[in-house]
Symmetry: C2
Subunit: 234 residues, 2 copies
């Protein structure tokens, strides 16, 4: 529970994996909060005022003060609520640096490659994106081995920073699997991550906030059709 | 000074602003270290083994263990040597989140726009880059006001995380000024940052590691000619 008088408000969007990171972090810390669903085609004044630089979700408003950017919010929650629930970042500075390194890799390499695979301008670019995505998955498999040290999660016995950062993408991976038959984490390429996904997906804090895959599939189809229409109209 | 038996080795490249961040952090903390200049056209085995994911400088090797990515290294040094020299990150979690937010902005918006201004594929793209760069400068001017609270540095009375992250780019800003006559921080657009640059540049820890502007100008000319030749050959 939030400390005496603490007010936590999350501006999110149900399909956003970045907003999901914050929901997961709040859930693992056992914090109560008010959730505000944003319409990204008609952003609220509160969102525009709280994140004037990027105008994006998620924004966590803590006692009236906004914090933006999912990875920064998760670290913020970990620092403010250090005595509540599990610690997301390891205590050891070297392990903290490694967690930050892999979190950056997830957004800057894995996710960027994956988006290229889906939204590349040419078939060639898309194929390149697929190749880079699978290379990133193999790298992440090594990262899991290094960070978990034989334990169930990136964070060891309990979930940590990387479980949240990568775990928030799991629903979108399932969506890609349903739509395109491509399984990013499989028993052949990444046996440790395949088992991790299963384990992570069963945690009650995860079940509580995971978006519905069918709804995500529909959402992805609509988005794709809009993007295609925009390209034709250009 | 590094603690008993601590061995710090920095793999860098003289013109790299990212390696410069680490030099600045080590300097402000008053730490001794071994510096290894890398030839980026013929990377050492040590660099390739220490940073197999990105194969880039800077890498800080601390007692044999490599830490990569400039912002992560600066945070690592701040955590390991918390009792030595100034603290780079603020103590308050909200202010820490703000420092991380602006550091991400410097790399993801300011620097990306600036690179677009210099390396855009068309004149239109370059012009767009220039516009975005100046918009980012105005945003950074606001960030300085917010973080410094009327004191000389982003970190307040002494240099902090953002002074290092942005300060490492100052030499390249001067180089752009010499080459193209464009002054990024000026008295009109960003009077606070203009004064900050001057103040920062006079610190002895900064003077000790700043690359020579004439040499950077030459380096930039050669790089640009190579890029142009590569485009013609494609």
């Amino acid at each position: 529970m939030a400390g005496g008088g603490d007010e936590l408000k999350l501006l999110g969007m149900w399909a956003s994996p970045f907003a999901l990171r914050v929901k997961l972090a709040l859930g693992f810390k056992g914090l109560s909060y008010q959730y505000v669903e944003e319409n990204l085609r008609n952003k609220s004044d509160l969102l525009l005022e709280s994140n004037p630089v990027h105008k994006k979700v998620p924004v966590l408003i803590h006692n009236g003060k906004p914090v933006c950017e999912s990875q920064i919010i998760v670290q913020y929650l970990d620092e403010v609520y250090s005595a509540t629930g599990p610690s997301f970042l390891p205590v050891d500075p070297y392990e903290r640096a490694m967690a930050r390194f892999w979190a950056a890799f997830i957004d800057d390499k894995f996710l960027v490659s994956w988006l290229k695979a889906g939204r590349g301008k040419t078939e060639e670019e898309k194929a390149e994106g697929v190749k880079e995505t699978f290379a990133a998955v193999e790298t992440l498999e090594g990262a899991f081995k290094e960070c978990s040290k034989g334990k169930p999660f990136f964070g060891g016995d309990s979930v940590g920073y990387l479980d949240i950062v990568l775990g928030a993408l799991v629903a979108w991976m399932r969506t890609a699997e349903v739509r395109h038959g491509i399984r990013l984490f499989d028993a052949f390429r990444s046996p440790l991550l395949e088992k991790w996904v299963e384990r992570f997906g069963k945690l009650e804090e995860v079940v509580a906030v995971m978006p519905d895959i069918d709804r995500l599939v529909e959402h992805a189809k609509v988005r794709e059709a809009e993007v295609a229409a925009a390209v034709v109209n250009n």
